[in-house]
Symmetry: C2
Subunit: 218 residues, 2 copies
C-alpha cells in the first residue's frame, strides 16, 4: 500500500480545478465532520447536505477516507507555510522589545488563524486523536524545524536581555506550547461558546501566567 498523503497530493495536482459541486461537497463535509465526527457522518448525509448525488462524491474522491484527507491535507499544507511564513515574517522578535510583546503578537496571530479555521482544526484534532495511522502519516509532514529555529532565536534574544530564565530552549518551548495548547484546546474545542471579551481577558491572564507563573515575586 502506498502512502495516502502522497497519493492525495498527487491527485490534487492532477485535478486542474475544483467543480462547483466539489466545493459544496467539501464545504458540507467540513461542517458535518466537525459537528458530528467522521465516523458518525455518512456519505449519503454529505450528499444531501451539499445537494449532490451520492455517486458524485465517489466520482471525485473515490472513498470516504479520501474525502477526509482532501479536507485535512490542504489545511495541513496551508498550515505549514502559514505557520512558518506568517509567523516568521509577521511575528519577528526584532519588532518586539520585550518577550511579552513578542508572545502577545504570536498568540494573537495563532488565535486568529485558528478562529478562521476552527472547523477544520476541530476535525484534525478529533481524527488525529482517534486514528493512529493518520497521525503517523500526517504529522511528519508538518515540518516544525523552521518555526522551531525561529522560536529558538527569539528565546535566545530575550534570554540575553535577561527577560527570560536561562533554561534550555527545548524545555521553555515545551512548557509554553503545552500551556498554549491547553488554552487553544479549551477555547476552540472544549468550550467554544464564550464571548470575545472573555477570550481577550483569558489571553492576557495566560500571558502573565506563562511569564511569571503563580509564585509571588518575594
Amino acid at each position: 500500500m502506498t502512502n495516502i498523503l502522497d497519493t492525495i497530493i498527487a491527485q490534487a495536482k492532477l485535478s486542474k480545478k475544483e467543480t462547483v459541486k466539489q466545493q459544496r461537497i467539501v464545504e458540507s463535509a467540513i461542517a458535518l465532520f466537525a459537528e458530528k465526527g467522521y465516523a458518525n457522518t455518512s456519505t449519503s448525509e454529505i450528499a444531501r447536505a451539499s445537494g449532490v448525488a451520492e455517486a458524485t462524491i465517489f466520482r471525485h474522491y473515490g472513498t470516504k477516507d479520501n474525502l477526509l484527507l482532501s479536507v485535512i491535507v490542504p489545511f495541513l499544507k496551508e498550515f505549514n507555510p502559514l505557520l512558518m511564513q506568517d509567523v516568521i515574517q509577521t511575528v519577528k522578535p526584532e519588532d518586539h522589545e520585550t518577550f511579552e510583546d513578542f508572545l502577545t503578537a504570536l498568540l494573537r496571530n495563532r488565535a486568529a488563524f485558528l478562529q478562521e479555521n476552527k472547523e477544520i482544526f476541530q476535525i484534525v484534532v478529533k481524527e488525529l486523536l482517534y486514528r493512529e495511522e493518520l497521525r503517523k502519516d500526517l504529522l511528519p509532514h508538518i515540518q516544525l524545524d523552521l518555526v522551531l529555529k525561529h522560536m529558538y532565536k527569539a528565546l535566545d534574544r530575550y534570554k540575553a536581555s535577561g527577560e527570560l530564565a536561562d533554561l534550555p530552549n527545548e524545555m521553555l518551548m515545551r512548557m509554553i506550547f503545552t500551556c498554549i495548547g491547553g488554552y487553544f484546546a479549551t477555547r476552540f474545542i472544549l468550550l467554544p461558546e464564550r464571548s470575545e471579551a472573555q477570550y481577550e481577558q483569558e489571553l492576557k491572564m495566560l500571558l502573565r501566567f506563562i511569564l511569571d507563573g503563580v509564585r509571588g515575586k518575594g
Copy 2:
C-alpha cells in the same frame, strides 16, 4: 425522555451482581472503545472479543449507547469521591510546608489515578469531545465544588505565606488547571508512549513552570 444518567444509575442499583460474562463484555468494550473509539467499534466486535454471543450484550445493556454509559458512568461516579476524598484527605495543605510540595503531591496523586484508569479516561475525553448531549448530561454530575473549596483554602494559605501571587483564586485555578490539563492530555492521550523517567522529569519541569513561569528572576 428521561435523564440517561439517572436511568443508568437506577439500573445499576437494581442489577444485584455482575455476571462473569458481563465483566468480560465491559472489559472488552473498554479496551475497544479506548483503542478505536465508540463509533468505530461494533457490537459484534465486542461480542467476539469477549467470547459472548452478541445477543448477550443486548440482554444486559439493551443498547450500544447504554453499554457506553455503563462504562463511563461508574468511572465518573468513582471519579467524584476519588477526586474529592482521595485528594482532600490525602493531599492536605497542612501536610505540606510549601505550595510546591503541595502541588507536587497533588500532581502525583492525580497522575497515578489517571495512569490506573488510562483507558476509561481516554474514552471519556474522546466521547465528551464528540457528543454534546453526553457532555451536558454527564459533566454536571461531576461536582467540583468541594474540591474547589479545598483548593481555594490551600491557595489562600500559600498566598498568606507569600509563596503565591496575590491573584484571584479563580484565575490561579484556571491557569493551573489548563496547564495541568495540557500536560495530562499530552501524557495520557496524545503521546502515551514515553518512559516513566521522562514523565517524572517533565512533571518537575511543569511544576517549576507553574510556579515561576518563564521569566527570569531579574
